[in-house]
């Protein structure tokens, strides 16, 4: 019984509010430090790619953003499901706080991908499997946000959003595989995204540092947004 109570202690917006501020501050600081280190490694330390020249350096933003975009959708669906199962107010708030950040990262991934594609592939957009599923992921985020925005009652909006997020999370792998299959059926291997098999250690370090920076940034921003939502609703 006592453990159960402790599990749900921070599920109350009231107790979570001050913790969120402390956590958000530290994460923001960590995000800045990781970003500085990551950008330093990415732009100054990592060697120039033999095939792609300097243009490849956009992957230090692109790849972590793409990781975050997919991961955040799962986290959002997780919180939505928690809110649906346990009827905790904070879970719904978390889900609605995550959505804009997730959509932002999806957009950044698409945008940097386009900028990277122009010098490398010679075109801003190809109907590649990964690009297409990322685009559909953006639509899923936007649909979730639009549904939540259209319902005024916060409780109903949270629960409706939860159903949509869960349905979307179940669909994401199906969409991904169907798009991949569609892609191989249609255009074959005209464009290959695979780079040289061995990645320089500095490139890998830079990418991991940037991924950590994006993680910390996401946590900080999401917690700040949760605080705003708590203030609005409570």
């Amino acid at each position: 019984m006592t453990t159960a109570i402790r599990w749900f202690w921070y599920a109350s917006p009231h107790t979570f509010f001050p913790v969120a501020r402390t956590l958000a501050r530290w994460c923001a600081v960590a995000a800045a430090l990781f970003a500085i280190a990551g950008l330093y490694v990415g732009f100054l330390v990592a060697p120039t790619d033999a095939q792609q020249g300097e243009a490849y350096r956009i992957i230090f933003i692109h790849v972590p953003a793409a990781w975050m975009s997919m991961f955040l959708y799962l986290v959002m669906a997780f919180w939505a499901a928690m809110g649906f199962a346990f009827n905790t107010r904070l879970s719904g708030m978390m889900a609605s706080a995550i959505a804009p950040t997730g959509a932002l990262f999806t957009f950044i991934a698409l945008w940097t991908g386009a900028l990277w594609g122009k010098p490398t592939w010679g075109t801003y957009w190809v109907w590649d499997a990964r690009l297409t599923s990322e685009l559909i992921l953006l639509f899923l985020y936007l649909g979730f946000m639009a549904l939540k925005a259209a319902i005024d009652d916060p409780r109903r909006s949270d629960r409706a959003g939860a159903v949509l997020a869960i349905v979307g999370a179940v669909n994401v792998p199906i969409i991904y595989y169907s798009v991949q299959w569609w892609n191989t059926l249609h255009q074959g291997a005209s464009v290959s995204m695979t780079r040289a098999p061995s990645m320089a250690a500095a490139m890998f370090t830079g990418m991991i540092l940037m991924a950590l920076a994006f993680w910390m940034y996401s946590i900080a921003v999401i917690l700040m947004r949760v605080r705003c939502i708590i203030m609005e609703r409570e």
Binding site: A150, I151, R156, I175
Partner: protein, 222 residues
């Protein structure tokens, strides 16, 4: 339980028969959308033949979506939906029955009329069977997934456009598999793989979508 489902389906079909105009509108929409494409891209037979499966499937998607708004709206407005959910029947069965009735009214006519559209696009007649079969397997999935969106947007402002935004991304796998099966057959390959996957999608949706629809309906009426 089966009795409830049968009664609900019969009732929805009866209501649809009393308002034949609504059913005809969705069907007409399908035909018109499919007929607009040659006017837009030109009447070159080879081009038409290659885009036909995709065009027919996109038109089917849009037409299925168009009729979703009416799925629960009338019942919600006059309180019938609340009474049905208060009844002893499990909400999942209610959702499945409503979805099935929607498919009978909006999906099945598309299966019947698709060969006529295929004729316009000069598809070889050997493909009619695959096209009809893919629509037969795919349109129920459209109805069930669409019903989730319809239940979620019930009584929400801007419901129609919102419904499209929610539902269309989820329709992507059905579109790919459905149009893909016809294209495979057109290329002289066996379309079995896509058709089987469509069937798997249908079974999966029929098993799990009712739960989501029921949850969404409860949220909407509370």
């Amino acid at each position: 339980m089966l009795g409830v489902a049968r009664t609900l389906i019969y009732r929805d079909l009866l209501l649809a028969m009393r308002r034949r105009g609504d059913v005809a509108t969705a069907l007409l929409f399908f035909v018109i959308v499919a007929s607009l494409f040659p006017l837009g891209v030109g009447a070159e037979p080879n081009l038409l033949r290659s885009i036909a499966p995709g065009v027919i499937w996109v038109a089917a998607l849009l037409s299925a979506m168009l009729s979703l708004g009416r799925l629960f709206a009338a019942d919600h407005a006059d309180g019938t939906l609340e009474q049905i959910l208060l009844g002893a029947a499990p909400a999942g069965v209610v959702a499945l029955a409503k979805g099935f009735a929607h498919w009978l009214v909006s999906g099945l006519p598309l299966v019947a009329i698709a060969p006529v559209i295929a004729l316009q696009y000069d598809l070889p007649s050997s493909l009619y069977g695959v096209l009809a079969l893919s629509l037969l397997l795919g349109t129920p999935v459209l109805s069930m997934i669409g019903a989730i969106g319809a239940a979620l947007t019930l009584g929400v402002r801007g419901g129609g456009v919102l419904l499209a935004l929610l539902v269309l991304p989820l329709y992507v796998p059905v579109l790919i598999l459905g149009a893909g099966s016809v294209e495979m057959a057109a290329a002289g390959l066996a379309p079995d793989g896509q058709l089987l996957l469509l069937g798997a999608l249908l079974v999966f949706t029929a098993a799990f979508a009712p739960w989501a629809i029921a949850a969404a309906l409860r949220i909407s009426v509370e």
